[in-house]
């Protein structure tokens, strides 16, 4: 469907996209994930033919975007980061213009515009000037423009920015329903969004593709620990004592809880071990009620941070982690000393 080969984009000495290679298959939702300035928008702008690349090629449906731009662009619908709206038009006029621009047959135009407006729920505002619409509606008009003509590939640059939570869910559902007929590429710096919507995640950092896989597979990449969050109705010292005796726990930290007479605990174990039952029995034995227990699945976030951090940042965060664990051990020892006295 889309083949990106050895794509490079330089701005002076600055490399925005650094030898990017990937292919996009039909009927799936792809997510570009990366921190700000990772090259997501630049890559999308190149794929859609808005800007040219310094090197490499992009082939869409067998057409090279640089050599046969008109043919390649025909199969793409694009919603850029800032929706390209003419604010002195109404959404209906704007979509009519977009339809003409996309060379949609005259007799199909009206029906198609109506369909797209219904899909993106902008029929109610179709006769108001775009400049008077809220950010969420503007975003949807932009989205309607991208879907118009039902191109085979729909590229959305941060489609849910500026929308309220209800709208975000609606747009996500819409994107999911689009994937039945279209290939969708979207970008985001919000992890939960990508993992909720996409079949395939590509993590970009500094213009390089650092990981490309299914969201589940990506979480598995992260070898390391399971994290468990607990709320226990008991005094801190007692809990500490119990937990210290469990050898499976790599580290834990105790904070005060919003619940009365209770403490919140975050603990980490090795990945293969499920410690929940053991904790239940141990706590029950000591008559410490467990108010809440949940496995926190932060691993995709960890993968993301790990992959996108610069070496320096990684070292720093590791240092911080080490310091924390040293401190917590020291605290434990001190407390042990206290209790011995």
């Amino acid at each position: 469907m889309i083949e990106v080969k050895n794509l490079v984009k330089r701005y002076g000495d600055n490399i925005a996209v650094d030898h990017l290679n990937f292919t996009v298959e039909k009927g799936q939702i792809y997510g570009f994930l990366g921190p700000n300035g990772a090259g997501k928008s630049t890559t999308m702008n190149i794929i859609t033919g808005y800007i040219a690349a310094s090197d490499g090629e992009v082939i869409i449906n067998g057409h090279n975007i640089f050599e046969e731009p008109e043919l390649a662009k025909k199969s793409i619908g694009y919603l850029p980061e800032i929706p390209p709206l003419y604010v002195d038009m109404t959404p209906y006029e704007y979509l009519k213009f977009a339809a003409e621009l996309k060379k949609i047959e005259k007799k199909e135009r009206k029906q198609m515009i109506d369909e797209v407006m219904k899909l993106t729920k902008i029929t109610d505002v179709s006769n108001r000037l775009i400049k008077n619409l809220s950010k969420g509606y503007k975003q949807r008009v932009g989205l309607a423009q991208a879907i118009l003509g039902y191109p085979e590939v729909i590229i959305l640059d941060e489609p849910t920015v500026g929308l309220d939570p209800k709208q975000i869910i609606e747009i996500r559902d819409l994107i999911k329903s689009l994937s039945k007929k279209h290939t969708v590429i979207l970008s985001s710096h919000i992890l939960s969004e990508v993992s909720a919507v996409c079949d395939h995640v590509m993590i970009l950092s500094k213009g390089k593709l650092v990981a490309s896989d299914k969201p589940e597979e990506l979480s598995k990449l992260m070898v390391g620990s399971n994290t468990l969050e607990l709320t226990i109705k008991e005094e801190e010292a007692k809990v500490r004592e119990i937990l210290n005796e469990m050898t499976e726990i790599i580290e834990f930290s105790i904070h005060s809880s919003v619940e009365e007479d209770a403490v919140d605990i975050t603990l980490k174990t090795k990945q293969q071990i499920d410690i929940r039952e053991k904790i239940f029995y141990e706590m029950a034995k000591e008559k410490c009620p467990i108010l809440a227990m949940k496995v926190s699945n932060m691993s995709l976030e960890d993968v993301f941070l790990e992959l996108t951090a610069t070496d320096k940042e990684v070292r720093q965060s590791q240092l911080i982690l080490e310091n924390q664990s040293i401190e917590s051990k020291q605290n434990e020892e001190e407390q042990e000393d206290d209790s011995n006295l």
């Binding site: 808005y50 793409i76 800032i82 038009m89």
Partner: protein, 287 residues
């Protein structure tokens, strides 16, 4: 192209800009028309038009300033450049839109000589060649304005630059008279021009060796030519400068001559600036 043409035309007609442009031209020509033709009974409408040529310096930037600058600032150029249309079609659509707005007052001007003929004999030939010349002159100015609008993201800068460029073009014949017509002066003028070309080349390519080489080669050629045949240079710099004077070509039309070279000149200017606008938009994609 038609989609862009329609949108652009509609946006001029739903906002103030188009009307301000038309009103200003009509107002100014109207004043001269009332004064010279109606009050003093001068029968030549072309004279009125030639007096109001300076109006272009003000109204052309009004019409062209937002043409491409605003698209860039609002990022609406993204929908145009990612749609399956050629850049050339986008630019042509835009150019024809402003040309259409400009055509409206011209069509109205065509009635003025008819109006005058009620009061005496009017040379239709002179009147209508003047109107045709006026139209082509305006069209050429619009192309220049459109090109300048493609260079910047700011409407204000585009307007000021267009005004400056048109002003220089308007005054260049007068200014070039101050330049000494001796061969040596022209030689110096060319040398300065070569340096300017080299600086522009450097700012575009960022390649020191290339622009320095270019300057050196051109400078050598002019020096050799100067030493070999100095008479070639006499008053050549002012001749060269006069090439950019669009308004002086209009004089023939006012005299009632359907000046084909003038038409060719204006059409060439229009084509060159449309081409340059396309290149300027394309260049942005590469940088």
């Amino acid at each position: 192209m038609i989609a862009i043409y329609k949108r652009e035309l509609k946006s001029y007609l739903t906002s103030m800009t188009g009307y301000i442009f038309m009103a200003f031209i009509m107002f100014l020509v109207g004043i001269y028309f009332t004064a010279y033709n109606l009050t003093y009974g001068y029968s030549h409408f072309g004279y009125v038009l030639s007096l109001s040529v300076f109006a272009f310096l003000i109204v052309v930037p009004i019409l062209t300033m937002r043409l491409l600058a605003e698209e860039k600032r609002q990022k609406t150029d993204q929908i145009l450049l990612t749609a399956p249309v050629r850049v050339m079609d986008i630019i042509l659509g835009k150019y024809f839109a402003i040309l259409t707005i400009f055509t409206i007052p011209i069509v109205l001007f065509c009635f003025y000589p008819l109006l005058l003929s009620r009061f005496g004999t009017v040379s239709y030939l002179m009147a209508y060649t003047s109107i045709i010349g006026y139209y082509f002159l305006g069209a050429a100015y619009l192309a220049v304005g459109m090109f300048i609008s493609s260079l910047t993201e700011s409407q204000v800068i585009a307007a000021v630059l267009s005004f400056g460029a048109l002003l220089v073009s308007y005054m260049i014949t007068g200014l070039s008279q101050f330049i000494s017509s001796t061969a040596f002066a022209s030689f110096m003028g060319f040398s300065i021009l070569i340096i300017i070309i080299a600086v522009i080349a450097y700012s575009m390519t960022k390649n020191m060796a290339f622009s320095a080489g270019l300057a050196l080669v051109l400078e050598c050629i002019t020096t050799i030519l100067y030493l070999y045949k100095a008479t070639l240079f006499a008053s050549s710099i002012s001749k060269l400068l006069n090439v950019i004077d669009l308004a002086s070509r209009y004089e023939n039309f006012v005299k009632g001559i359907f000046d084909v070279t003038g038409i060719v000149y204006y059409v060439s200017v229009i084509l060159i600036f449309i081409f340059l606008t396309v290149q300027s938009v394309q260049k942005r994609r590469w940088s």
